[in-house]
Symmetry: D2
Subunit: 370 residues, 4 copies
């Protein structure tokens, strides 16, 4: 076995859903510096099954106990959005370092509380935006830094599929919003990552659609197009969908005055298969595997999950600040809020934008008077 | 740091060229169970530079000392082909486990000696064919096993670029042959991997070309097309080139009576870039980076290098037999010999084929009387 | 029916620039029912050269004479935008049928005058939007009609290159605007074509950028992103650029609740070439032909030029209404005006929108008080 | 020059199957200089239906009458292979120009008779190899002529699908062979077209497979790989299949010492569609239209059918020799015979090769003593 058991950073994963599975497998395969020692899920059956599936020593159905008693150094929050804040505050108070999945939380107040709690506890808070670590997108960012494209003037990022697995996404009280909340945060974070966090966003303009594939099961938006203008003149376009069948799609386009790049994480990494009978797994949310399919491999690695988790563990071990912090998550949340408000009011929203609202989608569902 | 220093399997790399660089980086980034503690190169300047570049503790310009004195458990042979045998025999005699880069060696006699030496020493011998570990090609193999394609009837594998870096490749006394020796071994191994080593090859038919880009610097072949027929009726086509500009190309096609798969490791994994100015690195042997390029990331991971090395270290630690052994390397060598003989005689060669020859290309350059 | 010399519909082309070349070649190769008998250009040298190049019997440097004297039945307007109106009025008064290149003209008043003149003269007026005839895009439209994608909720169309050839494009007095005027009209027309002209656009939201590749030579916008919302809930996104190097790019994406289509007219129809030396022509505005290029064939056929011209000639011969009329061109112009106004005012513009303005870009360069 | 009704070249099509449909539609849409005035099929029901479908004035179920009485200038032979000779001889004797679909006929004797008959009659004989006219492949050939790739050393052409429509293909008495006879002729012709007919082929080496998808219905081969070596050192690889599901596939690769080209006529020209429900037609022999499909447009135009037919009509009108003649068809047949013999004897066959055999596949099914 690689390492001595005591030297590894111990991790407790909160949550046993789709993303928690990806995290557990990523830790196991690619983060030798860490060991997942415990998992928490509200449902003990799920918690136990997850622990068995991933060979995790302990499982809990009590959040407080999982955080306080499992003996972990790091808490990895893979819970529904509305529980992010509580989990982070609890973890910080218990003296743990925290990595929390996107989107950060439900409101700017929650964000401030989470950041403050970790700071006061002297613990690291990482915002888990895996696109900042996806190998192909990082190569694209280096291309820009190498000057290959000249001065950037437009960015476009899309993430689309046919809808998430877990039911809580569709309950806006738990999720905070629909596809924009769930996936638009990726593109918004990626814009800041590509341009540098000192590049100020100036305004956000959003168009949201509902009543598509999931009309019967959610009030949240199912398709979104958001435009962000930046102080340096750059335009960012982010498109997201819960209503696009055919499998996960994640791609970027970068336009500069000296070049352009197109990068695609799924079709762009796949084998092309024709199968009359069909087979097991093509790629995330693929639909049928009969006929032509795009067959993926190493999905999590291509998307950057192992790399972001390994980065955090190394930060914990070395005492360094993560590349993507709670402040970054809060900045993305502010852009999300501006987007929902823009859609609700039918006009662009200027930044900074600091509304008081329980959850972001309220700005669209029940917009304040203009 | 992840692991306790004593538990790691210690590796000495023999060679400091292009492939050794890939191995060192692969060990460093992806094989936490191992530590590269020493490197050997004939040229002390190169050895020292390599050690510095990869943060390796010791360097040697004496092969015997590197193997006997560095304290490694594993010897990783990344030397010119003609030195494989000597290195493996020395390593086996020193009680080391050995992984040796393709192609195995220069003759069946050498192969037998290498296999025997490791067996007598009770040590593992792995043949480093990375295509057996390339994630995309492994997904393809699983597709076949899942029955997605029905019964396979044809395989095709290509690996092509504009010629290797190191001068020794072009000296057939050191290399044993040209592109077929250098890269045809990949496809031939991959056929056995896909069909199972119990599937007997029946005959080999080869066409070799010379006098292309490297006409002035080598007697070896620069372009090859080889067809292998198998006892179960499958046809394998492998095409290789040292004369194809535009960057490394590695792809497979698998045809079954119920489906087909196309998989590409380079263009098929890349970002598409247009740069007026050009930039640093697109992909292996890319040529110009002005205009359109295919920009790769994680090349070594995509090709299977880290995975094959990690597999070997785990075999060493667990005492299990590697998935690809010296016997596999010998079987590939037999196919290479048959291919050179086929090209020399202008007709297919039946298997088994066990000629006595100093180096494979001699069967083409100076074919025996028919 | 095709015809002998007397039965052919006679055409005079007004203009001898890039688009006129495409038209002349399209007529020659693919429209046997017509014959181009004359060409007009302001510069007699150009007019004569064009006539010689295309084997056209007569050339003129006097617009009135070309229209009145050449003996044509059809006038094909391939002039700078600011001359469209005058040319169409002159042609209508001379009793000719007219096809006019996009965009229709500089103002709604001009549009009304052009439509009225042709109606009063009892002559056909076709708006030459070739995307309505591009074979691949027409196949996409049939897919939608076949129900392959279910109910459409989002459309996206992009046309991007590194800037037009002729100098007049860069003078907004002659062009009326920059890339949005020049190429955004395609996507806006295509939305109406895909959804049906009865599907009302509700609002237009635009973002324009300047100061890119052509900063020194134009006040017009060089990059644009426009969003159109339709009464049936569909969202249309059109992106255009004069600042994207690497060659012409024209693509669509169609999203429905039962499927999706991606179609690309250039890279998506090309051969992939690597050339160390370079060669003649890859595709429109390709830049370098060294390194990797996308090599096109039958560009005009793929874009729909011959098909739209043949359609018009058949309408003239059969007395039927063209599929794309002056009214369609006016509707597109209204969307363009709304887009410029949106960019100027920084908010969406509702339709209908009927401003009085000399040229569309004025709504952005000198926006009226909000 | 195109013509009025009397000036058009009149064509009678012999055959009413799949290829005849393509020819009729190609003439109708793209060859204004010609008019298809009659069709022959053995089955009067089919003949009448074909005539109605294509608005053809006359239909026949008597071959002699169709040729002698319909008043055509040109006979277009789209019959089963075993009837090519008889049809061409009859047409020549009747003083008609003839274009005959590939492959030319069943034996070299037939070929000589067909060539001689047309020459004696002073009539043109064109061999309808559409790949010599496919726009994308012609652009590739120009790239080579422009020097974009340097000196060519390898060509590869593939045409693969899941098996032809009409039953006669599967009866080797009518077809002369399986997929090699049906589709290998394309690649063999294309090699000569690319290299020039003066470039002598030296030897042919073939591998054929049977017992795949069509095991129950044919003795002919279903999958073939053929290698041709040329006197100038070029290697040609042609792969064909009747056993590849997922739709028609036609692609070429051209390798030169200064470059490389990849060109694909189907996937490489298509739109990419995902449809949950499925739809009408994706591309030739596509299989399911549910899930992902490659949706083609203008298939016949992309493959070169209209262009080859228009070329022949222009030759007839101008009295010039077609670019692809009966002699070319005979040369291809010789290569086919050598390929079947090579597969039958298990060794390469040198050229020239002029066996006496009733039909090509006999050289494989019952090879002569070596």
């Amino acid at each position: 076995m690689p390492a001595n058991h005591q030297n590894k950073t111990k991790v407790v994963i909160l949550g046993a859903g789709f993303i928690a599975d990806i995290h557990a497998e990523s830790f196991h395969r690619f983060v030798p510096e860490a060991e997942v020692i415990a998992v928490y899920a509200r449902d003990p059956v799920k918690a136990e099954a997850f622990a068995r599936r991933h060979h995790i020593a302990f499982w809990y159905d009590d959040l407080e106990r999982a955080i306080h008693e499992a003996g972990a150094d790091v808490v990895d929050v893979c819970l529904p959005n509305f529980l992010h804040c509580q989990a982070v505050l609890t973890a910080a108070r218990a003296g743990k370092h925290v990595i929390v999945e996107k989107p950060l939380c439900m409101s700017l107040e929650e964000a401030d509380a989470m950041i403050a709690a970790c700071r006061q506890a002297g613990r690291l808070l990482m915002y888990a935006e895996e696109l900042c670590f996806a190998p192909k997108y990082e190569r694209v960012r280096q291309l820009v830094q190498e000057g290959a494209l000249g001065r950037i003037f437009q960015l476009r990022q899309c993430e689309k599929h046919s809808g998430p697995h877990s039911p809580w996404f569709y309950d806006v009280e738990q999720s905070g919003g629909g596809v924009l909340m769930d996936m638009g945060c990726h593109g918004l974070a990626w814009f800041r990552w590509m341009l540098g966090r000192q590049t100020q966003p100036v305004s956000v303009s959003a168009h949201l659609q509902t009543g598509l594939r999931h009309a019967q099961r959610t009030r949240g938006e199912e398709n979104s197009v958001v435009i962000v203008t930046f102080a340096n003149g750059v335009l960012g376009v982010v498109e997201n969908s819960w209503a696009k069948p055919g499998g996960m799609d994640d791609r970027v386009e970068v336009y500069g005055d000296g070049g352009v790049v197109y990068a695609d994480l799924f079709i762009g990494n796949s084998a092309l298969t024709y199968s009359e009978k069909g087979y097991g797994y093509a790629l995330e949310k693929a639909g049928t595997t009969q006929g032509w399919t795009f067959t993926i491999c190493e999905e999590a690695f291509n998307q950057g999950y192992p790399q972001e988790l390994r980065h955090f563990i190394q930060c914990v071990q070395q005492g360094t600040t993560p590349l993507v912090t709670g402040e970054d998550g809060k900045a993305v949340l502010e852009l999300l809020l501006a987007a929902y408000a823009s859609a609700g009011l039918g006009r662009p929203i200027s930044l900074p934008f600091q509304p008081k609202v329980n959850k972001p989608v309220d700005l669209w569902l029940t917009p304040p008077p203009s």
